[in-house]
Amino acid sequence: MARLNETAAKQIAEICDRYKNEPTPLMLILSDIQNEYGYIPLEVQELVSEKTGISVAEIYGVVTFYSYFSLKPKGKYVVGCCLGTACYVKGGGQVFDKFSEVLGIKGGETTPDGLFTLDALRCLGACGIAPAVSINGKVYPKVQVSDVPGIVDSYRNA
């Protein structure tokens, strides 16, 4: 398996040390790693395991349980289509499919140029503006299928 380079290993160790006094530090550590690197591959999980004494199996379980964590690098722009109940009945499914068609990728995948990742989300808590789409934290309200190409272009040309 690929080994982490020294700088990365040092940074991961530093993140683990931030929470060494926490009784249950795993979620905090993984959130920081996800935020800073965009993904948490197995070699990073191994290092976290060594630092925290939590088994790799358990860490892997947490990483694959929460959709927030990713095993693979995410694109520069993460497109999250809400497929919660309200968004779904308002056409969220079609909006998701359109993004998939325009970007040429399935849910959970990243475009080859590394620009976009497409995710299906379960409720953003924005049911009043359904169907909602969130791109890197910016929320688009009442998205129509016809809006999708324009939204994608605005990021492509950014």
Binding site: M1, L42, E43, Q45, E46, S49, G53, S55, V56, A57, E58, I59, Y60, G61, T64, F65, S67
Partner: protein, 588 residues
């Protein structure tokens, strides 16, 4: 200890406060079916929902394995509502479960099948999606088939409890959840030590040993000269496969069964154990005399060796270079024994009956093959597989007479060899011989009580003709880690350490008969707390019955050195009986 008054099925009982309903009911004589809970909460997920009962004060039905009793509680197990709920829980489990029951190797010992029977579960052929399944048959030791997994979590808990760092965990979410090593890897590509403890707690056929009965059949078809050897711990448990009480020693019947199964020769691995002691005790003394690497650590347990190679790759020169007893035995059969009997080693097929799944992996190590690539041992069967083999052959085990192992050349064994099967046994056996080698006298007591028993880490100081030797014994990798971290830090005060992979040693190995209370109606209700002691006692009693109690007093061992090997740890002994280790990547 405070008591509370409860009623079960309308009958009043007094039970300890703090117990779960399931545990309290068990003590009052009721057995509520449960698939996830195990061994007093060693695993307590409350996940299978098969133990639902009615209890006053609770909203709806409660999972009795996690719900505590309280004063005045009335518990109803038999109400139509509770009965129906338990049945539905089992039916839902079955709806996402492989239905190939008659072909499943767990057939007859499956707790899910049993639960289905007693709850009356029906209508399992529900249409609909199933969780995508993984079948991992790559490892030589353990097969994992997630289509039979009910996500109870027992294996995860056992792996964690026994070894600290578990390799098994839940992966993914919801319908796609499975249990396995990280990335759903094979056991071979993860730091699994292949001990089989997960197999011994799995309620279904999701985790099983990899059977090698087919290999044995093939060797018979080819007309090989088949030599079988049995590990000490097997005799302490094999009877359980045939309904005998736990702790019944069945050495004579086991030998009789093997004689009837078409093996050319039936020997005891104890001979190999005696040989191991001769080499290991002398290796220890040489290391002490010549300033070699100390502490020296035993290398009989392949689970432990796997762990050392994965986690302490920088400390491997502490491991004794001795092969494990059955490997030594195999090496001697294919050299000394073959020569004496005019046999071609290539035509000899050595079968080891072991309480262990890791031994299946061990026999395939490149380090345990001779220069021509011939392995010391060809086939490893677990105690459970031997049970299956005996049943398959129509032998009525309990009716067999007692017979003796074959006695020529490799037949004699000492009491020291017998106790290898229990934690502390190798240490005790080695001390008996090392003491003699140093002082020229036998140790007066023979027994070394400090290293007996089931405490996680045991230590003793032995006076050997003026020098005090500090020793320690650990079993289960959680305990081994404590001693190994001291070794790595250079603070270990011991000269000699025994480490066994499985908690309790080989008597509780991953290849031993299942101890599942639901299938053992005639055992005490605390059998999960006592089975290790009972099996250990069977071995200690055989040690006491032996006239020869020390490995160095085994006359056939003496003969072997005189005729063939020369000195313990000498040139020929090194070639045949010693091995090497190599650090391994945890996730390669």
């Amino acid at each position: 200890m405070s008591l509370v008054n409860i009623k079960i099925e309308g009958h009043p009982y007094q039970v300890e406060a703090g117990l779960t309903i399931l545990e309290a009911a068990k003590r009052c004589g009721y057995e509520i079916p449960s698939l996830c809970t195990f061994n007093h909460g060693e695993c307590n997920q409350g996940s299978c929902r098969v133990c639902l009962v009615e209890a006053t004060g609770a909203r709806g039905l409660v999972a009795s394995c996690v719900y505590p009793v309280s004063e005045g509680m009335e518990i109803i197990i038999s109400s139509p509502k509770a009965v129906q709920a338990r049945r539905t829980s089992v039916e839902l489990l079955l709806s996402n479960h492989s239905t190939d029951c008659q072909a499943c190797p767990k057939n007859g010992k499956c707790e899910l099948y049993y639960a289905a029977q007693i709850t009356g579960a029906r209508n399992v052929q529900k249409d609909g999606a199933r969780t995508p399944a993984t079948v991992d048959e790559i490892s030589p030791s353990i097969v994992r088939d997630t289509s039979k997994c009910i996500l109870c979590g027992r294996c995860i808990a056992r792996c964690q409890n026994a070894h600290g760092l578990g390799v098994l965990g839940f992966e993914n979410r919801g319908f796609n959840t499975i249990v396995g090593p990280a990335e759903n890897r094979s056991f071979t590509d993860s730091p699994c030590i292949l001990c089989g403890q997960c197999v011994s707690v799995c309620p279904t056929g999701a985790l099983m040993e990899k059977s090698e009965i087919g290999k044995l059949d093939e060797a018979k078809r080819q007309g090989k000269y088949i030599v079988v050897q049995t590990a000490p711990a097997v005799r302490a448990a094999l009877g359980e496969e045939f309904g005998m009480k736990i702790g019944t020693p069945v050495t004579g019947k086991m030998v009789a069964a093997l004689h009837r199964l078409g093996f050319d020769k039936v020997y005891d691995t104890n001979f190999g154990a005696d040989l191991t002691i001769m080499e290991e005790a002398n290796e220890l003394l040489l290391r002490m005399k010549n300033g070699g690497v100390l502490p020296m650590i035993t290398s009989c347990s392949p689970g432990w060796v796997n762990y050392a190679e994965y986690y302490y790759g920088d400390q491997l020169d502490h491991l004794s270079s001795c092969k494990s007893p059955h490997e030594m035995f195999g090496a001697i059969v294919k050299s000394y024994y073959a020569e004496k009997n005019g046999l071609d080693p290539k035509n000899i097929f050595v079968v080891s009956i072991m309480p262990c799944t890791a031994k299946k992996f061990e026999k395939e190590r490149d380090q345990l093959k001779n220069a021509e690539g011939l392995p010391d041992v060809d086939c490893v069967l677990t105690t459970r597989e031997l049970g299956a083999l005996i049943r398959r052959s129509g032998i009525n085990f309990t009716k067999l007479p007692d017979e003796e192992f074959d006695q020529d050349l490799l037949g004699e064994y000492s009491g020291a060899g017998v106790i290898f099967g229990v934690t502390g046994g190798v240490m005790e056996a080695a001390l008996r011989t090392a003491y003699h080698a140093v002082t020229g006298k036998e140790h007066e007591l023979i027994k070394f009580e400090e290293v007996r028993g089931l405490e996680g880490i045991k230590e003793a100081s032995i006076d050997m003709g003026g020098t005090t030797v500090n020793v320690a014994v650990a079993h289960g990798m959680k305990n081994a880690k404590v001693l190994m971290d001291e070794v790595r830090a250079g603070t270990s005060k011991y000269a000699f350490i025994e480490i066994m992979g499985c908690p309790g040693g080989c008597v509780a190995g991953g290849g031993q008969p299942y101890v599942k209370p639901c299938f053992l109606p005639n055992e005490d209700i605390d059998i999960l707390d006592t089975y290790k002691q009972k099996r250990s006692a069977a071995l200690y009693s055989e040690d006491e019955r032996q006239t020869v109690r020390q490995s160095h007093n085994n006359t056939q061992i003496q003969q072997l050195y005189k005729d063939y090997l020369g000195e313990p740890c000498g040139h020929r002994a090194h070639e045949l009986l010693h091995t090497t280790y190599a650090a391994r990547e945890r996730f390669n």
